[in-house]
């Protein structure tokens, strides 16, 4: 069981709700994933063109909601977005993300730290999306974040765990859960993160744009469970040289 803030989770696969071909596909895939925490975004209502209400089916399925601050470019905007999300979704959980650059969507560490400190002070359960920066992750922990969410690769890139060496340091040093977010493109990437000792992973694009999102979400669920089990079992160490798995008896000699 994974505990973050005031909640415990049986599934270590967190999922995003964006980019699915349609609402039914999203609801079905998320249900099949076993995920208990799903991210959502907030937008200004278009008075002419109303968006679908995606909230009702998620709540009906018992999902915990993690609103994000996507679209915020500064700490001030992110705090405002978090406060709006708290009202909209009636939760004090927030995925803090501040990425001013639309090309790579890399998180701004300075604004993120400032916003995290303010939001933690206001009683939010803050899960910041950050670069895989071990020093920043410790600072975020110190200002009261409930977890840290370092990236594996840029959002939506599906490139996998490109920040491996730094994620290892973050996992080694963290006293709060580490959720690897962004860049996870296949179940093997998710399994790798879990084998390394990540507490959870957050996957969106790789499930949402898969040929069959329901089947892919199940594949991710199995990979996350397998990776976690391997981590808990204790992986065998690596050697530079071969180490025989069979006894090297000499029974063929002299034949």
């Amino acid at each position: 069981m994974l505990t973050i803030g005031d909640k415990t989770f049986k599934s270590r696969l967190f999922t995003g709700t964006g980019k699915f071909p349609n609402q039914q596909s999203m609801v079905d895939a998320l249900a099949a994933s076993g995920s208990e925490l799903v991210t959502m975004a907030l937008k200004r209502v278009d008075m002419q063109n109303r968006d679908d209400d995606i909230l009702a089916p998620l709540i009906a399925n018992g999902m915990n909601l993690l609103p994000n601050t996507s679209g915020a470019r500064t700490a001030k905007e992110a705090v405002f977005a978090a406060q709006l999300a708290r009202e909209a979704l009636q939760t004090n959980w927030v995925k803090l993300e501040i990425h001013p650059d639309p090309k790579y969507l890399l998180p701004d560490p300075i604004e993120t730290l400032a916003a995290a400190e303010e939001l933690a002070r206001e009683g939010f359960i803050v899960l910041p999306y950050v670069h895989a920066d071990p020093v920043l992750c410790k600072r975020l922990e110190q200002v009261g974040c409930a977890a840290v969410m370092p990236l594996g690769a840029p959002i939506g890139s599906n490139k996998g765990i490109r920040t491996l060496d730094f994620l290892e340091i973050i996992i080694e040093q963290a006293n709060v859960p580490v959720v690897v977010d962004a860049g996870i493109g296949s179940p093997s990437h998710a399994a790798l993160a879990m084998e390394m000792g990540a507490d959870a992973v957050l996957v969106n694009t790789a499930i949402a744009v898969a040929g069959n999102p329901v089947a892919m979400s199940q594949a991710f669920a199995q990979a996350v469970a397998a990776g976690r089990q391997a981590y808990e079992a204790g992986l065998a160490g690596q050697e530079q040289q071969a180490v025989a798995s069979s006894p090297l008896t000499a029974f063929l000699e002299g034949a």
Binding site: F20, M40, V45, M47, D51, A88, I155, L202
Partner: protein, 69 residues
């Protein structure tokens, strides 16, 4: 009935004076869950909606939860 002029997400509207936020959201068909609102850039808590009367010239920003990662 006295009317006042307000804007909602930049769109000008005329509504009855002494309308509160809860009534306004019903009127514009946005009373469902997943909505948050600010009046003149100040967020109004859901619990205050029935008591908060909208004034002439108020700029209302309405937000809703949508799919996202």
């Amino acid at each position: 009935m006295e009317q006042i002029k307000i804007s909602i997400n930049g769109e000008v509207r005329h509504i009855a004076a002494n309308t509160n936020i809860a009534q306004l959201l019903v009127e514009i068909g946005n009373a469902e869950q997943g909505v948050a609102l600010a009046v003149n850039q100040a967020i109004i808590a859901r619990s205050e909606w029935p008591a908060h009367i909208i004034n002439h010239g108020d700029e209302i920003s309405l937000f809703q939860a949508i799919a996202g990662g």
